[in-house]
Symmetry: C3
Amino acid sequence: MNIAVNPGRKIIGRLARGEDLLAALEKLALDHGITLGEVSAIGAVSQARVGYYNQAERKYYYIELARPLEILNLIGNISVKDGKPMVHAHVALGDKSGQAFGGHLAPGTLVFACEFTIQEYQSTKALVRQMDDPTGLFLWPPE
Amino acid sequence: MNIAVNPGRKIIGRLARGEDLLAALEKLALDHGITLGEVSAIGAVSQARVGYYNQAERKYYYIELARPLEILNLIGNISVKDGKPMVHAHVALGDKSGQAFGGHLAPGTLVFACEFTIQEYQSTKALVRQMDDPTGLFLWPPE
Amino acid sequence: MNIAVNPGRKIIGRLARGEDLLAALEKLALDHGITLGEVSAIGAVSQARVGYYNQAERKYYYIELARPLEILNLIGNISVKDGKPMVHAHVALGDKSGQAFGGHLAPGTLVFACEFTIQEYQSTKALVRQMDDPTGLFLWPPE
């Protein structure tokens, strides 16, 4: 499945220390009424929590990284789930030895410093997440 | 070497489970006639194969990651090689412990779920990959 | 803090072998007079040096990765510090076993091959980095 989109608003800025990274990005989408778009960020977190999807069990497991980490990168998108903007982002993180970790950005990842971009897309068609039976994930429609 | 480009079409969507990630992105470029652009993606793969270029030997080695992994991020570009659109992308991947891996995206990386963006660029000048003697890689022209 | 921006010029290209990656990106921003924007890159380096910020000590530590590595991804931004364009970028790197590393891109990271994009932003308001007391980092203003 793919759709053509046009660029909408572009918003850049910083998040406040202590904010939950995922919740802060979703709040920005909600406050600006952005239901389709792209996000990116770099910065650092005081702790992280990332998901790994067990494809055989069709279940997310969460990994707690209870230490300060650099955000090597965060990329993701904004679309609609349950009638609200949902941010789906993945994150790579680096520790004090330079070792990298990462996964699906989950609640519980706390901002130390973070610079983000949000690119809104305009489209004649909304992208709405719905349960995808083959994977067990909330995905965009297959066609 | 650098050129100024203008934005062309933007396409976003999801890839189908089981597709070869690199081949699927190249097929999208080919189907849409995109010969210059940028790609990004997040998602998960059922297995991955990534290249590492041995700079001294001037030779790619391939690393098989024969297990389900999160796509922490994929970024890359589209330009022309041998008269066809070629996707050059690098990928970072996360395993069930949150450990990160990655390299040059190679054939043999299979989609479990994947959300991508393709941004076409318009330019008065095509970017064509050609053998670059100093590195042994197919790169854009130096000037 | 967040601001709305409009797209300006987009420049893509390759860096020359042996260049310092961060200095080369900053030179591009300076040469093109870009004071606000976004950067991305993939490629390979002959050696890397990345920063990790110790949040408790409020001090950067630098990690030397004295070996050839793939640039899994580099993302970052351009804004103003001390009256000049400053590139703030984070980088993820992969070694010959596919293991990933990364941090805050620091001087001493040398290009083997690198393909970059720079997206200029236009804004009525400049983003200027200044010392942020709560973190000890040079950040954009909180409001």
